[in-house]
């Protein structure tokens, strides 16, 4: 078997592999900064003082994985069924189902909380096109 224009083909292949794998070796050895969530807002500290621990409406693991689905269900419940109180299945405490008046009351640090993971995962939820985020000091400008 003879490879016609073998030189060109092999060089071409090498160039292609080089370009295709460029992102991998470009990022090699770089430490990707893992998202770091800050849960030390005044409201959360207050909660910790009162109840002795930090807790969200559900467990940390659940919130991490399912908060989008939870918010979706909250929205339907509030807008369509007129039920605005959420009873936690983990602690039994009652919370207001509201992004602006619920979640962000404790997590008043959107930049240090929401944005950390959303930027890391390159997801752009459009929650804050409408929902007003709390005022924050400009700390890390992007």
């Amino acid at each position: 078997m003879k490879l016609y224009d073998g030189g060109k083909i092999i060089v071409g292949l090498l160039v292609f592999i080089g370009i295709a794998t460029f992102p991998f070796y470009y990022n090699m050895g770089r430490v990707n900064v893992k998202p770091e969530l800050k849960t030390d807002t005044p409201a959360i500290q207050e909660w910790e003082k009162q109840y002795g621990k930090k807790e969200c409406v559900e467990s940390k693991e659940f919130m991490r994985a399912e908060h989008m689905q939870l918010l979706n269900n909250w929205r339907d419940s509030v807008v369509r069924d007129m039920n605005r109180q959420y009873v936690s299945t983990t602690s039994g405490k009652v919370f207001e189902m509201s992004l602006q008046n619920g979640c962000l009351r404790c997590h008043s640090n959107k930049k240090q909380f929401c944005d950390q993971c959303h930027n890391y995962m390159a997801v752009k939820p459009y929650c804050f096109d409408c929902h007003i985020q709390p005022m924050e000091k400009e700390e890390n400008k992007s």
Binding site: R84, Q100, I132
Partner: protein, 276 residues
């Protein structure tokens, strides 16, 4: 490749078993897609509950422009309704968003004007808002179910679902709906905005919600609260003892375009006598 009948049935059988298995697996995985279960949710204990919310507006109690301005700005302030202005300070009609506003008589009750009508009525600015119809055309035309009727009669809108097709605007005979042609935040005062209520985004339709969020917190609508004494009433018209029911039962009230069969829930008193 050719299949005989036996092979075909085998493949069909196996793939249907696989498909069924996958659907069972996904059903057990996504408990959250079914929505919240009853023990997880409860209504606010302070919430005002009604079978059919309705409003009575007594136009004779609005003496000055100021009285009207007070209620429209109370509403628009509460709900972060943008205020688009032309460079010369007049309202920019192209981008205007309105939840509650004023219209002259012939646009409020078209067809019922006559040439001998006094100027006091003809030129009187009428307060108009979404009528929260019994049979709302906007709900019928909405392709995504974004706008719908709540159990208490309010025509509600889920902004998350709205795709901005504006069918509802074409359907509404009262012009109660406005479209966000541009980002409304451009025309919202970021200092005085209501931090407890969202804004809207570019490309959605919005309208009065009879202050659903305030009712659920035990408060009456913002416009009624800001109105002069005895000018606006809000209540459950199915409740025989409610103020709105008593007024509608004892006085002559008119509604906007009732001949269309939409069943509006906003009643107007035009005369000047005292009541309720």
């Amino acid at each position: 490749m050719s299949l005989d009948r036996r092979q075909f049935l085998k493949i069909a059988g196996i793939s249907s078993i696989l498909g069924f298995g996958a659907s069972v697996a996904s059903a057990t995985h996504t408990i959250w897609e079914k929505g919240l279960e009853p023990p997880q949710v409860e209504p606010n204990k302070d919430a005002l509950n009604g079978k059919r919310w309705a409003m009575v507006v007594d136009m004779s109690k609005f003496k000055t422009e100021e009285d009207i301005k007070k209620i429209t700005s109370a509403c628009h302030q509460t709900h972060n309704v943008p205020d688009f202005r032309n460079p010369d300070g007049t309202v920019d009609r192209k981008f205007e968003i309105k939840w509650i506003w004023e219209e002259p008589y012939e646009r409020t009750f078209p067809g019922s004007e006559n040439k001998f009508m006094g100027e006091n009525i003809k030129d009187m600015p009428f307060i108009v808002l979404c009528n929260h119809c019994d049979n709302p055309p906007c709900v019928r035309v909405c392709p995504t179910g974004a706008t719908f009727k709540l159990a208490n009669g309010i025509t509600m809108q889920d902004m998350h679902r709205c795709i901005g097709c504006r069918f509802c605007m074409a359907a509404c005979p009262y012009g109660s709906r406005s479209f966000n042609w541009v980002d409304p935040r451009k025309a919202i005062n970021l200092v005085t905005e209501n931090k407890a209520y969202p804004t809207r985004t570019k490309g959605v339709v919005e309208k009065c919600t009879f202050c659903t969020e305030r009712l659920q917190a035990g408060k009456i609508p913002a416009c009624v609260e800001a109105a002069p004494k005895g000018a606006m009433f809000f209540g459950d018209i199915e409740d025989q003892n409610s103020e709105v029911r008593k007024i509608v039962a004892t006085q002559l009230t008119i509604r906007r375009k009732p001949e269309l069969g939409t069943g509006p829930a906003v009643y107007y008193l035009i005369g000047g006598s005292d009541h309720a």
